[in-house]
Amino acid sequence: MHDDQTRTGAKIETINQGLTRNVASLGFDLKDLVAHKKIVLDFVYVERSEIEESGEYDLEGLFIRLGAAIDAIGAKRVVLDTSESLFSGLSNPAMLRAEFAVQEVVSLKIIGQETAEEAQLAQGRADMGVSREVDAKPNKRKGVPK
């Protein structure tokens, strides 16, 4: 249990370091922004091999996390980079699209991702390509009938 969390934590740490380095080249000091509560970083980790699906689910967990991150600093904007990792990690793309649509974080880009993995391979996407910005309204969806 701790082993796995440590591994996940280490992976996230590595990714955050890479992100910090890349953003620094654009003139932003991420560590400083985090320290001054101007920005919150969260990393979504989806490991297909450890996931089994049984019955209906939604992405409320992700949106609760987004909500908590937004509330932590009173964020005005949210950047998701990238939703491809969700599409490759979960087996129900129709549900994922519906979830994002309901959340109004939908973009043409998300809808167009039929072959996210191929697109990723083809693009050789840099690990910090900021893909889209959305308005911060994470809790709007509560109570929406499915």
Binding site: M1, V44, V46, I51, E53, S54, G55, D58, I64, G67
Partner: protein
């Protein structure tokens, strides 16, 4: 009949003898409020545990509306999510757990059919 074959000859119908059959299970179920999916998941996992893991499991139910900060630490994305912390390997079962076979496979109680 005293052979301890790790795999039953017939497909997927028998429980697997071995480590999983005697291990203690540490499970966490993450739900969001009183949604139908959440309520179903709680009912389903309670039933599955009673029928398959009698006396050797710990199940903690966490409502993310009450404790949103816990979602990040356990990397919760989908809801409901059942996490099998022990026995290893860690496994996440997402959904309302209505497909009992898939839950049993995910918990390593049953072989993949």
């Amino acid at each position: 009949m005293k052979t301890k074959s790790p795999r039953p000859a017939q497909t997927g119908e028998k429980t697997v003898p071995g480590i999983a059959a005697s291990s203690r299970y540490i499970l966490k179920l993450y739900v969001a409020g009183q949604s139908p999916k959440s309520i179903n998941a709680i009912a389903n996992i309670n039933k599955i545990c009673k029928e398959n893991l009698q006396g050797r499991y710990e199940l903690e139910v966490i409502d993310l509306y009450q404790q949103p900060q816990l979602a990040k630490g356990d990397q919760i994305i989908a809801v409901p999510t059942l996490i099998k912390n022990l026995p290893l390997p860690l496994r996440r079962i997402i959904g309302d757990l209505s497909d009992t076979e898939r839950v049993l496979v995910g918990l390593d109680i049953r072989n993949t059919a």
